[in-house]
Subunit: 435 residues, 2 copies
């Protein structure tokens, strides 16, 4: 088999390189804790990010540090593992080398779990006007955009421009889009309502645009409907079946109309990282690498791709979903399988995805959730959602801090993290003279 | 008196403009809570910052949101006050107008409390190599610099370059310099000590350089000595009486030698904001506006300058110090005085500074403090320091979060906020091949 010619000639301590320290990469590294191997984890950032709560950073409920933890400190007691901050630019499958920051790292086993970025279906120029939220810097940028829109509206004399400043369009009706739209509506309606003098934040428009016929397509249809109703109770205008045809500075064009909106947030699609290019291996339309039943790529038994970067068939027509529990399970399975192979043991049972369910929260007291075959909504759904997220934050010291922040927000409606940072803070337009 | 010709012709509700929402500006606004006036608070940032703890953001102990709070939410219930996010560029004393973001705001009373930036004694090109810490963005930049230095050292094969990467020079032996040096030493010696594989963080050099003969010149000499000893116990090399003559990329030149250091932090001097230029009024050498006994500027009874922007004589030879309690007291006094004037009441007693004391912390269990005539050090000093800072954080929702962070750091030596954000995270040099 090409690239596998050294099989059986392993050094006693094989080099295992894991690219990406998201849920998949980190679970894989942890599963290799006791393996007799030299493990290297490479990531572009020095922290592991709890991405499911990133929208709460973007809407000023949580601080970045509440949901990010240094990779080094997670792995500090794992003596067989080192962590490198670096950017991978190429992979040589034959020579078994990863190029990172210009240097070449040899590997015997390679796991690529570099996640995904926003995908604009080929309209990459939309990105400038409709940023998505995948990294801490994305989230603090969107947070500043949202907060600055209110600041600028406060001093904007022209009614049409003020209206555009107070219109927020979220594109995409999956969990991220639903959660963002709900969180922006609550920010405007409850948290900052007494902060301004010229504008009335509760009159802000929050519009959720989804091309498909319903929100949250991975949940049962009853819950999709419930989510739509809950969003509407918060004042969100939900528009399903309305594809976006163009995005420009301060406007969104849909099949039905042009919406003047200063703040546009993209939650409609993702595109896998460049792993397919690095590995020169087949990908699907979203750029995900097509993998075998054991997550290896065709022709290479020791190169694995997983997490949001991989297209893993569960059935003929369905894929392993791009959610945190799936990534964790896959990473863990790959780690255990490699550990067994190194020892010459029989590997774990073939990978089987345990579908724990699916959920999305809408504002501060409603959520929809499917747990196995059970469906939940309303406050019960919200409590379940909170518990699940705090549970998954275990290993993060910050679960206590997050719990306190949530409790505080819940009781007082306040958002503690309304900071405009990382850019010139002052709005560029004129301040009108005092009324 | 020039500029005061409208005296007695006030509108029933005079316009009061406060530029800067630091300790001085905010205290002034709050003291005007019940005044029959239209108050406008302008700041370049949307948050008030608890600057005394900013060094803890720079050394990864606290998140920015722990010490920053939106100005709007602080003042939301004060109906006579509006908040504008904006940058002041000019002040017309005769026409009584402040130019902010290109628009002109009329005022009857003006308070300028725009603080200070770092001062490099005319060597402004040093700023690039030796950043100071005055804003949230400064602090997150320095945090990234410090953390990246360790990351780069981990993959640096050349011993001399590795040593420079692990050398941290803090210039200036005042409270900020002492606290920064202690915090970096603790980060290296305790918090991240097991995180790396190639380097030994506890072997990092932290050097504190002070041109004067002793640290903390505003404290009694016994405490200066105690602070020096406490820093040395943490492994900091304290060099007093050693003026810096040049700063370049990765090197500091003092009167005695050239130190190769990748991370250089400036805590040696401040320079007042541009208020003196805006107001075309005399300033001292540090750019501070010379003010009268009531903080007004010469010739203008309704224009006040305070906080770090003002040079206020306490005695012939001493000035109101540039510390938070002094700024708060001055701002509060000015607010009460204006409120009385508007009503035609007799104003408050002449301003008198209540000197509460002075303190600096060294690492996680020592501090030196003077409280009135009492001197404290060691753990007692540290407890006093912690209580004082948590007390002054009242009004910040985050005092609980800060207390938890401190307790956590104290018990575990961990730092929770070790995030490299806001810049390309990956070090630009090569990663060496796996050893």
């Amino acid at each position: 088999m090409p690239g596998d010619s050294h099989h059986g000639n392993e050094t006693p301590e094989p080099n295992i390189v894991i690219v990406g320290a998201g849920f998949a990469g980190l679970s894989c590294a942890r599963a290799l804790k006791n393996a007799a191997a030299k493990i290297t984890v490479i990531d572009r950032h020095n922290y592991h990010l709890f991405q499911p709560l990133l929208y709460q950073v973007a809407t000023a409920s949580l601080s970045p540090a509440d949901i990010a933890q240094p990779i080094r400190s997670i792995l500090k007691d794992q003596a067989n593992t080192r962590v490198l901050l670096g950017e991978v630019t190429a992979i040589d499958k034959q020579a078994r080398q990863v190029t990172a920051n210009g240097a070449k790292l040899p590997f015997d086993y390679l796991i690529v779990a570099t996640g995904a970025r926003h995908g604009y279906f080929g309209k990459d120029h939309w990105a400038e006007h409709a940023p998505g939220i995948k990294t801490v810097d994305d989230a603090t940028r969107v947070r500043a955009d949202i907060l600055l829109a209110f600041e600028r509206a406060e001093v904007e004399p022209d009614p049409a421009r003020r209206k555009a400043l107070l219109t927020f369009v979220v594109i995409g009706g999956g969990p991220t889009g639903v959660e963002m739209a709900g969180a922006i509506a609550e920010l405007a309606r409850n948290s900052i309502t007494r902060d301004f003098r010229s504008i009335t934040p509760r009159c802000a428009s929050v519009i959720l645009v989804e091309a498909g016929l319903r929100l949250l397509p991975t949940l049962p249809e009853t819950l999709s409907k419930e989510a739509g109703r809950a969003l509407e109770r918060l004042g969100v205008e939900v528009r399903t079946g309305e594809a976006v045809t163009n995005v420009a500075a301060a406007s969104v064009v849909t099949l039905k109309e042009t919406i003047a909106a200063h703040t546009i947030i993209w939650a409609a699609g993702v595109r896998a990282s460049a792993a397919g290019t690095w590995l020169d291996t087949p990908t699907d339309r979203a750029g995900r690498v097509v993998v075998n039943r054991d997550f290896s790529i065709p022709g290479y038994r020791r190169i694995f791709v997983t997490g949001d970067t991989a297209a893993y068939h569960l059935t003929e027509t369905s894929f392993l979903p791009g959610v945190a529990p799936a990534a964790k399970q896959a990473g863990d399975w790959i780690g255990r399988m490699i550990a067994a192979r190194i020892c010459g043991h029989i590997g774990p049972e073939p990978f089987r995805y345990a579908d724990l369910g699916n959920m999305a929260t809408i504002g501060r007291r409603e959520a929809v959730a499917r747990l196995g075959r059970m469906e939940m909504k309303g406050v019960i759904g919200w409590l379940l959602w909170s518990l699940a997220h705090i549970y998954f934050l275990i290993g993060f010291r910050n679960r206590l801090s997050v719990a306190i922040s949530w409790a505080w927000s819940y009781i007082t409606y306040q958002r503690g993290v309304r900071l405009i940072t990382g850019r010139p803070a002052a709005p560029s337009q004129k301040i009108e003279e005092a009324a």
